[in-house]
C-alpha cells in the first residue's frame, strides 16, 4: 500500500510539472476505406444543446443500428473548448463561424478530407473563409445557418410596431425582455440599437459604450437565455414578451403553440453559420465522416429546413414543406450581417461578463 501511495504522489508531482496539453493529431483525417458501410463502434457527438434533437438524429441512428451514438451539449464553442482541453473527449464537435477561435487556437480540431464529403462543394456557405484553415484544408462542413433578429409575443405586442433592435430597450417592455447570453449577439444588438453600423467590428471603445448602454438598461431584462431552448421556455412561461433570437428558435415556439413572430430588424438581421468538425482526439473517424455526410445530405437538410433553419444542401429545398420553402432558401440571408468572430472578441466577452455580473 505504501508503494501505491508513493507512486500516486509521484504521479501527482509529475502531473504538476508536466502540464502538457492534450495529445492529438493535426493531420488531415483520412477518409473511411468503405464509405458505404454502416458505422460501428461508439461515436461521441458534442454539440449545442439545440442541435441534439431526435427528429434530426433518429434517421441517422436507424441507418447505423450498430453504432452507439453518444451525445453531450454545450452553450458555446468557448465552453466546448474548455471541456475538450480539460480531459473531455469527443469525436465530432459542432462549431460556429462566430465563436470557433478557442477551438482552433488550442488545436482541438483536425482538418478533414473534403473528397470524403461528396456534397461539400454544393453546400451553402462552404466558400466562407472560416471553413478552411491556414493551409486551405477544410476545418468543418457547414450544417446549419439562419438569421438572428427579434422575437415578439404577438398576444402582448402588436408585431407591426416592432422593427428595430431599439425596441428591446423600449421602457414599455421593461422587465419583460430577454437577451441571448452570447457576448457577440448581445453586444451587437446593443450596438445596433445605438445606431452603430458594424456590430461585428466594434472598436474597444464602442464595445465599452455598448456595455454601458446594456448596464444602464439592466432592469429592462428579465433573464439572459443560455440557449435557444431556454429562450423558448422564457416565452412559453410568459416571463418575457420580446427578445433577440433566431428564426429557428421562433419556429420552435410556434410549433409548440406559443404565439410569437420573428421579425427582421431594419438595422439588418444577423446571420450565423455552424457546421460539424472532427476533433483532434477523435477515435472513430469513420463514424465521424458518416455523421458529417448525414448532416450534409438532402434528407437531413430537409428536416433542418422544416425546423426553420436554412437548408444547406440545394437538393433539399424541393423536399422542404411549403410553409418553410422561403425561410429554408439560403438566398434569404443575402442581406443579413454575417456573424463573424471579431478580432477583439476577448473585449466582447469581458464586456458581456460585466453586464451579467451587474
Amino acid at each position: 500500500m505504501k508503494g501505491m501511495i508513493a507512486a500516486l504522489a509521484v504521479t501527482a508531482g509529475l502531473a504538476v510539472a508536466g502540464c502538457g496539453g492534450g495529445g492529438g493529431s493535426s493531420s488531415v483525417v483520412p477518409p473511411p476505406k468503405d464509405p458505404d458501410a454502416p458505422a460501428t463502434g461508439t461515436l461521441r457527438f458534442f454539440a449545442y444543446g439545440d442541435t441534439i434533437v431526435d427528429p434530426m438524429l433518429d434517421p441517422f441512428r436507424k441507418e447505423n443500428p450498430d453504432l452507439n451514438l453518444k451525445t453531450a451539449s454545450f452553450d458555446s464553442n468557448k465552453a466546448a473548448a474548455a471541456k475538450l482541453a480539460g480531459g473531455f473527449e469527443a469525436d465530432v464537435v459542432e462549431v460556429c463561424t462566430d465563436e470557433m477561435k478557442p477551438l482552433t487556437a488550442r488545436g482541438l480540431l483536425r482538418p478533414l478530407d473534403e473528397k470524403a464529403v461528396p456534397e461539400f462543394g454544393d453546400l451553402a456557405f462552404s466558400e466562407r473563409p472560416e471553413v478552411r484553415d491556414a493551409n486551405g484544408d477544410v476545418l468543418f462542413v457547414p450544417a446549419s445557418a439562419g438569421p438572428q433578429g427579434l422575437i415578439v409575443n404577438t398576444d402582448e405586442i402588436d408585431p407591426a410596431t416592432i422593427d428595430s433592435y431599439a425596441d428591446l430597450f423600449d421602457s414599455r417592455y421593461a422587465g419583460n425582455v430577454a437577451l441571448e447570453a452570447t457576448p457577440l449577439t448581445a453586444i451587437g444588438a446593443a450596438a445596433l440599437a445605438m445606431g452603430m453600423d458594424d456590430p461585428m467590428n466594434l472598436s474597444d471603445e464602442q464595445v465599452e459604450e455598448a456595455k454601458n448602454y446594456l448596464l444602464d438598461h439592466r432592469d429592462q431584462f428579465r433573464a439572459f437565455a443560455e440557449s435557444d431552448a431556454s429562450m423558448v421556455n422564457l416565452f412559453k412561461s410568459g416571463e418575457v414578451v420580446i427578445a433577440d433570437g433566431g428564426r429557428g428558435t421562433a419556429q420552435a415556439m410556434i410549433d409548440d403553440g406559443v404565439p410569437v413572430e420573428w421579425i427582421a430588424p431594419k438595422e439588418g438581421a444577423l446571420s450565423w453559420v455552424c457546421g460539424l468538425a472532427i476533433t483532434s482526439q477523435a477515435q472513430n473517424t469513420d463514424a465521424a465522416y458518416k455523421l458529417i455526410n448525414y448532416y450534409a445530405s438532402p434528407q437531413a437538410q430537409a428536416i433542418s429546413g422544416d425546423m426553420g433553419f436554412v437548408a444547406m444542401n440545394p437538393k433539399a429545398l424541393p423536399m422542404v414543406s411549403p410553409a418553410f420553402k422561403k425561410t429554408a432558401d439560403p438566398r434569404n440571408l443575402q442581406n443579413a450581417i454575417p456573424q463573424t468572430e471579431p478580432e477583439n472578441s476577448d473585449t466582447y466577452d469581458r464586456a458581456w461578463q460585466e453586464v451579467q455580473a451587474g
Binding site: G23, G49, G86, S237, D256
Partner: protein, 311 residues
C-alpha cells in the same frame, strides 16, 4: 424585560436541585409547561407546518402537475394525463441519466460503507501513529465545498490525462462520501462500551468473530443510516458530477442541462416525481430497517445518530 415581572413565578414550588437527577422526565415536562404559557403550542405547530410546507410544498406541486395535460407548468388545470410518464419512459436520455445515477450511487454506497466502517473502526478502536492526522484528513473532506472538490478533480484528471467518465464521477463521489460514513459509524462506535468487545476476545473469539457477532449488531443502525446518506450523497451530487463527468450524464446533471437547454419540462416533472417518491420510500424503509436492527427498537437511535453524526 417586562415579561419577567409578569412571569407567574411560584405557580409550582421550586424543586430542590439535588432531586432532579432522579426524576429527569418531570423536569422536562415542567420546562415545556412553563414555555407553553409564553409561546403557545399552536405557534410551535405552525412553525413546523410552515417549514414542512416550504420544504415539501414545491415538490408536491411538482408531482401534482406532472399529471396535468399541458406542456406549460401553470394553472389552469387542463385535465389528468399520464402521457408525461410515458414520454419520460420513452426518453432515452432520461432513462440513461437515472440508470447512470443508480449504478454510481449503488457502487458508491457499498464501497463507502465498507471503507467507512473499516476506517471508523480503526480510528475509534486502534491506537497508531498518525491517527489524529488521518482523522483530520477524513474530517476535512466533509467541510471542503463540493464545487472545489469538483474543480480539483477536473484539473487533476486533465493533468494526469485520464478521460472523464462515469468512473471518474464514482471515484470522486466515493472519496467525499465514505468520510461521512466514517463520521456516522464512529459516532455509533463511540457510544458503545468496549467492555463487550474485550469480553468477547477474552472468551476466545477471533477478531473477525468479535466484529461479526458483537460489533456489527451494535453499530447496525449506524451503518443503515450511513447507507441511506451515502446513497443520497452520491445520487444527489451535482457539483462533482458536473465537473468530473464525461459523456454519460448523471440525473442531477441531466436536470440541470435540461432546465437550460430543452423544452421537455413536463418530462422532467414526471421523472422527478418518480425519483422523489422512490427517495421517500427509501428513507422510510431505511428508518424501519434501523429500528429493527437496533436492539432496543427505540427511536432514540435516530436522534442519537443524527446528532452524533453532525458532531
Amino acid at each position: 424585560m417586562a415579561g419577567a415581572a409578569a412571569s407567574p413565578a411560584g405557580i409550582r414550588a421550586p424543586r430542590p436541585s439535588g432531586a432532579v437527577d432522579d426524576l429527569p422526565p418531570p423536569v422536562r415536562r415542567s420546562f415545556g409547561h412553563r414555555i407553553r404559557a409564553r409561546l403557545p403550542g399552536l405557534a410551535g405547530g405552525m412553525l413546523v407546518a410552515f417549514v414542512m410546507l416550504v420544504l415539501f410544498g414545491p415538490v408536491l406541486m411538482l408531482a401534482l402537475f406532472s399529471f396535468n395535460d399541458s406542456s406549460i407548468i401553470s394553472l389552469p388545470w387542463e385535465g389528468f394525463t399520464t402521457k408525461w410518464y410515458e414520454e419520460a419512459w420513452a426518453n432515452g436520455q432520461a432513462r440513461d441519466a437515472v440508470t447512470n445515477s443508480l449504478i454510481v450511487a449503488t457502487i458508491v454506497m457499498v464501497l463507502s460503507v465498507v471503507l467507512g466502517t473499516m476506517a471508523a473502526w480503526g480510528l475509534t478502536r486502534l491506537r497508531f501513529r498518525g491517527r489524529g492526522l488521518i482523522a483530520g484528513l477524513n474530517g476535512s473532506v466533509l467541510v471542503v465545498p463540493w464545487l472545489i472538490i469538483g474543480v480539483a478533480g477536473l484539473i487533476f484528471f486533465s493533468q494526469i490525462q485520464v478521460q472523464l467518465s462515469l468512473e471518474t464521477i464514482a471515484l470522486m463521489h466515493l472519496v467525499v462520501t465514505f468520510p461521512l460514513v466514517v463520521a456516522i459509524v464512529s459516532a455509533g462506535l463511540v457510544r458503545f462500551q468496549r467492555s463487550l468487545e474485550e469480553a468477547a476476545i477474552d472468551l476466545g473469539a477471533t477478531q473477525v468473530q468479535m466484529l461479526r457477532y458483537v460489533v456489527l449488531p451494535q453499530i447496525g443502525p449506524s451503518i443503515a443510516a450511513a447507507s441511506i446518506f451515502a446513497f443520497a450523497w452520491s445520487f444527489n451530487n451535482f457539483e462533482i458530477s458536473f465537473f468530473t463527468g464525461g459523456f454519460e450524464q448523471t440525473f442531477p446533471v441531466w436536470v440541470f442541462s435540461i432546465l437550460r437547454q430543452s423544452e421537455n419540462l413536463p418530462v422532467v416533472n414526471a421523472v422527478s416525481t418518480v425519483i422523489a417518491a422512490a427517495q421517500i420510500v427509501a428513507v422510510f424503509a431505511g428508518w424501519a430497517l434501523m429500528k429493527r436492527l437496533s436492539r432496543s427498537g427505540e427511536d432514540e437511535n435516530l436522534t442519537g445518530l443524527l446528532t452524533g453524526g453532525t458532531r
